[in-house]
């Protein structure tokens, strides 16, 4: 067994480290701690944060890639030389249980008829039973039996979800009690709405564990054209969404910060050059630019197949490239904002006072300007996240997004486009992608709303 590092894995773990470091520095600063507390004082923000962290957690477990050699006791059957993540391993039964073609959620038979020859050699059109779904039931056609089985199994899963929440509660409770004992009696901060956080966590865990447990017996969200489980696809798409939403900011932020502050602080010809740069970039339609860049890259990859080891690496590089392009085209808005704010701040008297102390250049920017811009940066990052997740879906739908072999909501929707025209309609692919994406984007937007409300100085 060996670890395989894909480029996006590496970057996402670096980003994760940076965020942990950032949280640590928030803990040190009294002011920042107070602001974050205020953010979480809203039940909606608390619930959104729980949802977001669960998504990110799933994305992270899908960002460790392992390659198994022969003879490994962890390795599932049929793993031969595949690159797998912990998420793949835990959903291995879904990879293995591939059907022939479409089947609806919780169905026991295929969605369309196929031609069969019976013993007499007669041609028959029948709904063939699924190979891996509902096989434990003696009479899966009986709706009552099916429901009883579903409710029984859901009950078990619910219990598991409850226990899991309890474990988190106890674990977290230890820290809460410790903080309570050590608290400063003079200050009485507002209570954080932990109960909302736990409620969200429990609901989320309940849905997830029901889906997960039942997925061992059914195709909970159906299967697609080639019989692949849609639940698996939707889960795997989480990583793509999270990678694009977060890594793009990693590309965008340095550019926006560096150029925006330079333009606002140094003014003069530097300001002119940067302004012309982003005005030019802004006047080219974004989708056009992205499409052109992706097409160039595609043909380049096609001409140099030797440069890429495996198809995973190729798909990963394409994802990275998309992240890069999205980052290059989306820094202008934040840059403009930072330039204006820097112009304003650099006229303030505390900057003049720092200059009177002989401070200048990078030191002054780092000490006096950057900290006063951070709220803008944070607001922009959280707001952009949901936009980028949606952008991926749109681009993949148009066909210039991620690699067709990469699981993503955009690809799922793209494939579902034709299925919608079928009679009877195949609706579950589209709906699953939509719901998974909707929950993420909604949570991100609600959270962004709260962050903006708290950090915007005009609201206090």
């Amino acid at each position: 067994m060996s670890l395989v590092f894909l480029w996006t894995d590496l970057l996402i773990w670096i980003l994760f480290g940076a965020v942990v470091f950032g949280l640590h520095s928030i803990k040190k600063s009294k002011q920042a701690r107070k602001q974050w507390r205020e953010i979480f004082e809203s039940p909606i923000a608390m619930a959104s944060a729980v949802i977001l962290s669960v998504y990110v957690l799933i994305g992270l477990t899908d960002s460790i890639h392992l390659k198994f050699n022969q003879e490994n006791r962890w390795a599932p059957a049929g793993y031969e030389n595949q690159v797998l993540s912990p998420l793949d391993l835990s959903l291995w039964h879904l990879v293995k249980n591939q059907e022939r073609t479409y089947s609806a959620p919780f169905a026991s038979h295929e969605y369309s008829r196929s031609i069969l020859y019976d013993e007499n050699g007669q041609v028959q059109q029948v709904y063939r039973p699924l190979k891996f779904a509902a096989v434990h039931l003696e009479n899966p056609d009986n709706r009552q039996v099916l429901w009883q089985d579903l409710i029984k199994k859901s009950g078990i899963a619910l219990l598991a979800a409850f226990l899991l929440t309890l474990v988190v509660f106890v674990f977290h409770g230890y820290f809460r009690v410790r903080a309570y004992v050590k608290r400063d009696i003079r200050v009485k901060p507002k209570r954080l709405p932990w109960n909302w956080g736990y409620l969200t966590l429990f609901l989320l865990l309940a849905v997830m564990s029901i889906l997960y447990y039942l997925s061992h017996f059914y195709h909970v969200l159906g299967t697609d054209k080639v019989g692949e489980d849609v639940f698996y696809q939707a889960m795997k798409s989480i990583r793509t969404g999270v990678v694009i939403g977060t890594l793009t900011t990693l590309v965008m932020l340095p550019l926006a910060l560096f150029l925006g502050i330079s333009a606002g602080y140094f003014k003069g010809w530097i300001d002119d050059v940067i302004q012309y740069l982003y005005t030019t970039l802004n006047s080219i339609p974004g989708v056009l630019l992205i499409a052109a860049a992706v097409l160039v890259m595609q043909s380049w990859i096609a001409q140099h197949p030797a440069d890429f080891g495996s198809s995973e690496q190729r798909a990963d590089l394409r994802l990275l490239f998309l992240v890069f392009i999205l980052g290059m085209t989306s820094w202008t808005g934040l840059c403009r904002l930072l330039r204006a704010e820097t112009l304003k701040i650099s006229q303030l008297e505390y900057i003049q006072s720092a200059k009177a102390f002989g401070m200048g250049g990078m030191h002054l920017i780092y000490k006096h300007i950057l900290p006063n811009l951070l709220h803008l940066v944070l607001i922009a990052v959280v707001l952009d996240f949901s936009g980028l997740v949606l952008a991926e879906a749109v681009l993949s739908y148009v066909g210039v997004g991620v690699d067709p072999t990469t699981y993503s909501w955009g690809n799922m929707i793209n494939q579902a486009r034709l299925e919608m025209a079928r009679e009877p309609m195949v609706w579950w692919s589209l709906l699953s992608a939509f719901i998974f994406m909707f929950i993420l984007v909604l949570a991100a937007n609600l959270f962004a709303d709260r962050v903006q409300w708290v950090l915007n100085p005009r609201n206090s």
Partner: protein, 543 residues
């Protein structure tokens, strides 16, 4: 209406937010033709009282239901919001402190006034225009017909305030509420606006509720004075009585603080520390797409000055006269075009700061420091007081570089400026304006300077706080032999603080000398004009 019926009558007015009373049981009457000055420091509730009369209080603030507000024969407390709309503007009008933001920048000023006339009096466009021109003439806007078509940015601050007054008078209100209408204006313009208000009162029998914190203005304009403190009315008296025999101890202190204390200040020995010789600072005026330089704005145009050790030089002038630019030039925050800034170095003798490179300038940075006007933008909101004060010590390598010793020194500095060591872990927003100004002074003191450039350090402060800050600066001067370049537009504080005065107009020094010379026997017409415009309360004391 008879002269003996009050125009405005407040009885037991209380305003509260939640459980806290911000205004506590205020009672007074105002009569036609009376200028009623409501005096108090910021946060005393004077503006709230006026807003309550207009029933324009912000959300969350409530008027106690037992309060009585009567406008002539109308009970304002009983009016619905709809009825209030017909009263506001028509029977009670208001003018504000900041004429810049009270006028809509994209509508012609004449149109803005005409709009009010059309709305409230139902005049036709032509009649309205004629009426506006008439009003403009009345409030003393020259070429009224021409100015009708101007936009706010084309008018000066004083003219904008006149437009605001014209707008307020448009519907011939009985009561005019003036909320610090002259605070944002220069002294000469302030005097003109005050005269205008008095003249309007005489002609129209208007009652004016004049809100201010400036005792000098009160002395010039008011008939009756009411002093508010922390939401309470502490004194109410006729002007003459008020200034002759103030009763409440707070009022006495307020009067003492706002009247300049003339002190003979003589320097023991005179050794020049800084000399400016024919200093010129020009700002390029750029136009067009390639930002070509088309002209120079001569902000400082040949200034020669001298400051001795332990001396305070007051640099007086109106806004835009270039006085702040001189301070920035000495600090090398702007580049000089011509002339010399000579600084006496203990070892090297005279050094021309204007020609030094930034690196060579560093040793002198600790000798020249600055404190600013606006205590709210002078401190980085993301740094604690400790970090703010320590910054100079670290950057300029002053004193011990050991963090523990530096912290001990910060404690000492905080005590020196009248704060406490436990304040050092707090952030600037937790302090009041006066305290912030003290932090700014501590920051400057931290590097042990010889000269501090004080750029209007008291103009954003209330009078009593102003007096404290000036006292602190004076004590520090006595103790450490500091020199100050005190940039101000406020003549009234000059005799209190300065040894010498220089009067500046349009980038040039028009008159300079000792305080007695310049204030006692002004030679230049501009100096005389400045002194004439000063409130007579101030004039009586300093002349």
């Amino acid at each position: 209406m008879s002269k003996h019926h009050p125009v405005l009558s407040l009885s037991q007015l209380s305003i509260r937010i939640g459980e806290d009373d911000l205004v506590k049981k205020i009672t007074f009457d105002m009569y036609p033709g009376e200028i009623f000055a409501l005096v108090g420091e910021s946060g005393s509730g004077k503006s709230l009282t006026s807003l309550a009369v207009m029933r324009l209080l912000a959300e969350g603030l409530t008027i106690d239901p037992d309060s009585g507000i009567r406008l002539a024969d109308i009970d304002l407390m009983a009016q619905s919001e709809r009825q209030m709309q017909t009263i506001r503007g028509k029977r009670v009008a208001m003018i504000f402190q900041e004429p810049m933001t009270s006028l809509n920048p994209v509508i012609k000023v004449g149109e803005q006034v005409a709009e009010v006339l059309r709305l409230h009096l139902g005049l036709k466009s032509k009649q309205a225009k004629a009426k506006v021109v008439e009003l403009f003439n009345e409030v003393g806007i020259p070429d009224a017909a021409e100015r009708y078509n101007w936009y706010p940015h084309q008018l000066s601050g004083g003219q904008k305030q006149r437009v605001m007054i014209a707008m307020a008078l448009a519907c011939e209100p009985q009561l005019l509420i003036a909320d610090e209408p002259t605070t944002a204006l220069d002294v000469t313009i302030q005097a003109q606006v005050l005269n205008l208000l008095k003249q309007l009162r005489d002609e129209r029998g208007l009652a004016i509720l004049f809100i201010t914190h400036d005792m000098g203005v009160v002395y010039d304009i008011a008939d009756t004075v009411a002093v508010m403190r922390k939401g309470e009315l502490v004194e109410l008296a006729h002007k003459e009585l008020f200034f002759e025999r103030p009763r409440h101890s707070y009022t006495k202190q307020l009067l003492k603080d706002s009247i300049p204390q003339v002190r003979q200040r003589v320097l023991q020995q005179k050794q020049a520390l800084l000399e400016l010789d024919d200093l010129q600072v020009h700002f390029p005026v750029r136009k067009g797409i390639f930002q070509r330089k088309v002209a120079d704005l001569k902000a400082v145009d040949g200034v020669t000055l001298e400051i001795a050790k332990g001396e305070t030089l007051a640099l007086v002038g109106e806004s835009g006269s270039g006085k702040s630019t001189i301070g920035q030039a000495i600090l090398r925050l702007v580049n000089t075009k011509n002339g010399q800034i000579r600084w006496l170095d203990q070892k090297k003798g005279w050094v021309d700061l204007g020609s030094l490179k930034e690196r060579d300038m560093r040793p002198y940075r600790k000798q020249i420091q600055v404190i600013f006007q606006d205590p709210f933008s002078a401190l980085n909101p993301r740094m604690t007081v400790l970090e703010i004060i320590r910054e100079g010590m670290v950057t300029l390598q002053v004193g011990s570089q050991d963090p523990v010793e530096q912290e001990a020194r910060v404690d000492k500095l905080l005590l020196q400026v009248g704060l406490f060591p436990e304040h050092k872990e707090r952030y600037p927003h937790e302090f009041s304006g006066g305290q912030r100004q003290r932090i700014g002074i501590a920051r400057a003191l931290a590097v042990e300077p010889d000269l501090i450039i004080c750029d209007e350090p008291t103009s954003a402060l209330d009078v009593s706080v102003r007096a404290q800050v000036l006292k602190l600066l004076d004590e520090l001067q006595q103790k450490y032999g500091l020199s100050y370049l005190f940039i101000t537009h406020d003549l009234s504080i000059v005799p209190t603080i300065a040894h010498k005065v220089a009067v500046m107009q349009q980038g040039k020094i028009v008159e300079s000398g000792t305080v007695e010379e310049v204030i006692g026997r002004p030679q230049h017409p501009y100096t005389r004009q400045l002194l004439d415009s000063a409130p007579s309360l101030v004039k009586q004391r300093i002349l």
